[in-house]
Amino acid sequence: MYNILIGGEAGQGIDTTSFILEKFFKKSGYYVFTTKDFMSRVRGGHNFSLLRFGNEIITSHSNKVDVIIALNDETIELHSNKLKDNGFILCDSGLNSDGPQIIKFDINKMAKEIGNINVAGSIAVGVILKMFNENLDGLEDIIRASTKEKNIEVNVKAVKAGYGIADSMFLSKNGEFSDWMLISGNKALALGAIAAGVKFYSAYPMSPSTSIMDYIASKSNEAEIVVEQAEDEIAAMNMAIGASFAGVRSMTATSGGGFCLMVEALGLSGVAEIPVVVVDVQRPGPATGLATRTEQSDLKFVISASQGEFPRMVIALRNHTDAFYQTVRAFNLSEKYQIPVIILSDQYLADTSSSVKPYDLSKVSWELPITAPQKEEEYLRYRYTDNYVSPRLIPGKSRNFVTADSHEHDEQGWICEEAKTRVKMVDKRMKKLERLIEEDLQDPEFIGFENCETLIVGWGSTYGAIVEAIKNLNNDGKKKYGALVFGDVYPLPEKLLREKAMVTNNIINVEQNATGQLASLIREKTGIECSQSILRYDGRQISAEEIVSQIFKGGDQ
């Protein structure tokens, strides 16, 4: 397994550089996992990518680096401590930094000769490709996919030039992942929505959710989807609800700040029993916070958002497989129970690219609105039924009137203030959740020794780091470790958790927030207490190494 860090300023082409490398490594069979760390600005500052690849499945980034491609001195200052003993730094001869592990080439000079200083990164790509013994087949196509037409030629030249000046250093490999997909979390989610049949997507741009809209918009013509950029998030959410009411699958995505503005309409979806899927790609708050960084601090917010009480479901995405399949499932459960389903992702997962087994469309099915036949004059939109869900007709599609009401209402959907009706309607709505718990809730994934002495609990995108940490901890052999990583977080699936809490009461929660939100949700719902918390809330994703070292620091080894 190798780990390459590419660092420089915003605008120096770090994205393109890592994109090209990714593609080559994947093509030749490696499993690839690339994460991005960038500032909230268009030019300047310091950004970097971490490109990890190897012949086995990789579930998270690592801060131990084999190669650093440094497009400026700052990169070396900031990251040389991450370099492994046998690692090296690749940079232009013009940089000031020096040291035994630094290898300099005349990259900038070559770039100028080729005619564009911005292709320095591509020259470095060439150097790396040669070092890793890649062949340059398909170079032009890959470059075409990552840059504008007019820049293709110079970049091809640049890669070739870099390739020419280096020597191969690493053994060739024989990975099996060349026919897997390489996809980012947000694109995987967007693809899931398209497969689920989303026909109306409304949103207001907000990092780190915007690339979902980007992708769906770019495919809107072929997939016959209407993508509407709303004037604000209030409109985005109300539009999604309106379109869903009228009979198409709809979705909106945002980050925490935009979610705030959707909260009122979330309750509308709840009381009016209109399916809708809302994605919150989390970033550090409060308020504007850190726009391009990662955090898992909206859990408690989204499970309690909006006044009053109504059923909702919250699914946290753990990885690029979840991002696709759970999005499809979100649409189906939203329809089945006529409730809002919130998908929680975060900047880490959103912007990370990973190899993933091609999505299997035979696993995709579509829950349709129940339209139990009944006599015309008897249709009641909010009819009390045995399973608490009322038939949902589509307005204009039958000779029945379809209603939706934000007030408390009677079975017909008219405002109703009667005490008895109020209680029956609240109960009808809340019971849907009980049914969901019975029929559809998924237990967290268990990893590690069945009879573990220490149990890690986590949720969402820390999945990958936890999986790797458990593997390393258990390889170590001193103690037996296990982990439960939650995908469905609300309602909280309690069964497996309670079972595991019987096996050990040494439970450690790993979360990307300051207050341990999952741990307190677990305490609230089950009374189970975590004995240690590993919390990271500086906007950077925790790694497997860090989890291991924190566990050891906490005295647990």
Binding site: I234, M239, G242, F245, P358, P395, G396
Partner: protein, 281 residues
Amino acid sequence: MNTFNTYKTSWCPGCGNFNILKCLKTALEELDKDPYEVLMVSGIGQAAKTAQYISANSFNGLHGRALPVAIAAKIANEKLTVIVNSGDGDSYGEGGNHFIHNIRRNVNITHFVHDNQIYGLTKGQASPTTSEGQVTRIQPNGNTNLPLNPILLAISAGAGFVARSFSGDTKHLVSMMKQAISYDGYAIVDILQPCVSFNKINTFAYYKSRVYHLEKDYDSSNKLGAIQKSMEFEDKIPIGVIYKEKRNTYHQQNITLSDSEPLLDKKVDLNIVQKLIGEFI
């Protein structure tokens, strides 16, 4: 056949809303609309209850948020006749941002604003259209905000059909409603409506003595003239179609919708999804 019934209302006796509802029914019936293809959308307020009082599909959503729901429903199913009935507070106050931006989108829906120049349901605070100086419970020294001129604002934001009417002029109102519903694009009718309980200034008599029908030779296609006309709102208040223009609608411009197969009839094509998956391999 195409009869629109009225359910039980909870308005105050004498309220202008009654006649607006009656005119709406007449307009729909005269246009030969099928009740099952009509969708009434509203926010919250006295006017917004209209959606609950007429036999049609209805969406009684959040205060201020009727327009986003309405346009999205129309996008989902263009065969629906989508009509918003809501108050001045709802449409221009809480919903002000949607008002401006949906004009720009030009989705083919109709917007009837019951403009009683007051917040009725919440018992009498100034709305965006309340007159300067008018005393209310919250404005004991009189309203100091410049009243919003919905006609002027709608024209300025680019609306293609902008009309004013009066709840007390049945024939005129029915005609405006029919024209607005028939217009291909976003159409707004600002309907002056007395609130007998909370607006003691803009009464039936007040409006009655001020409104006049636009001159016979009035040219509603002249934008600047229309803007000038829209500024008349004192002793004399013109009612009628103040501005009208042909504009491309949202549906005409959107590639997915332009084939006029309703969006809700389009099915997922798994071959396309499979192709998209392939692009990542």
